[in-house]
Symmetry: C2
Subunit: 211 residues, 2 copies
């Protein structure tokens, strides 16, 4: 039977919730600091001490807030997800024509390839780790699904603006864009200046032919 909570109990609950919120906020801060180093060095070369040295924290703090290294990195992955899954939503929502949507999408794509290259390479690195490490698999599959949904929102809206329907399934479409992005990311990181414009051209040619 649920019974009435006393005032004292309610206060305790609120206090507890605040504490947890503060605790989580700190975890995010730490995860964010870890992401910086992970994006620079990659999973294989990143140690907790290296993360700590590149941040304002000492290495002990990370063990106070995370059970172990995997826990920290999983938290990083989840946090990364939240930030990037809505990247194109504004463009999708505001574009009034097919041309405008395509232009906006291609631009954002180019922008993130240029500015967030090290976060993207970290994502591909961690997704590869999920091929070996069970602990990552759940989160990675979930993020992959979110990204697939994101691409699908763009594509189906683009089709809709032309009174059409995408010619391929959501999964195939994501595989295509994911494969392309990975490819141009590598080119870009290999200092090929053609990477970004070529990607933009490819996307502008491809999307109208599919949707």
């Amino acid at each position: 039977m649920a019974r009435q909570m006393s005032a004292k109990e309610r206060v305790a609950d609120v206090v507890e919730a605040l504490r947890e919120e503060k605790f989580n906020a700190r975890r995010i801060e730490l995860a964010e600091a870890a992401l910086a180093t992970l994006g620079e060095l990659g999973y294989a070369r990143t140690s907790l001490r290296e993360i700590a040295q590149n941040s304002e924290f000492t290495h002990g703090v990370f063990h106070y807030y995370f059970a172990d290294k995997l826990d920290l990195i999983c938290c990083c992955v989840r946090h990364y997800k939240a930030k990037c899954v809505t990247r194109y939503d504004e463009v999708t929502a505001t574009a009034r024509s097919r041309e405008e949507l395509l232009e906006g999408f291609a631009n954002k794509l180019a922008e993130t390839l240029r500015d967030d290259a090290s976060m993207h390479r970290l994502w591909y690195d961690l997704r590869a780790q999920a091929l070996f490490e069970d602990a990552f698999r759940g989160d990675v599959l979930e993020i992959d699904q979110s990204l697939e949904n994101m691409v699908w929102r763009i594509a189906s809206r683009y089709a809709e603006l032309g009174g059409r329907t995408p010619a391929v399934s959501s999964g195939v479409l994501y595989a295509l864009f994911d494969g392309l992005f990975q490819r141009y990311l590598l080119k870009h990181l290999a200092d090929d200046p053609r990477a970004i414009p070529e990607m933009v051209n490819e996307v502008k040619r491809l999307l109208p032919s599919i949707c």
Copy 2:
């Protein structure tokens, strides 16, 4: 001025060539042993001692034949390439009809996803490493190009058998198949039994619509 070689010099050259050949053969043996462990553990978790322990060699031998760890792994990558780039060539060469080629291609694809899963995940792992480590980039880009050519040989032959021409560029086609394969590899390694049949279905539906 090129001058006539003495008999002694020619013998010395042959001896030298044999020595080098033997040396290279040993390197390949070692690389092959290393690939087994790398495919099992992934780049981040694989140490030279671990490689040695899972093989018939002692860890010192690896340093006799390779300058350092990167040198060894680069050799592994190159060797891996040589083995897998011709995987579909027989099917492409012998198939007498579109249906036969498609069937053969899809079967080989399913077979390699099932049997060589750990080599494939290693490839994706190392390609991700190339996003961070310059030393890998050259080899990885070269292998990527070889794989793209391989896919293109299949697709253009498939189109040819129907008197057609592929509807997309070689790069886009490779990105698509690469993205799809990566996706189903992850599903397969996550013990999803639908991974292989779904991939086969997807490919059988996709290829005729493109080529």
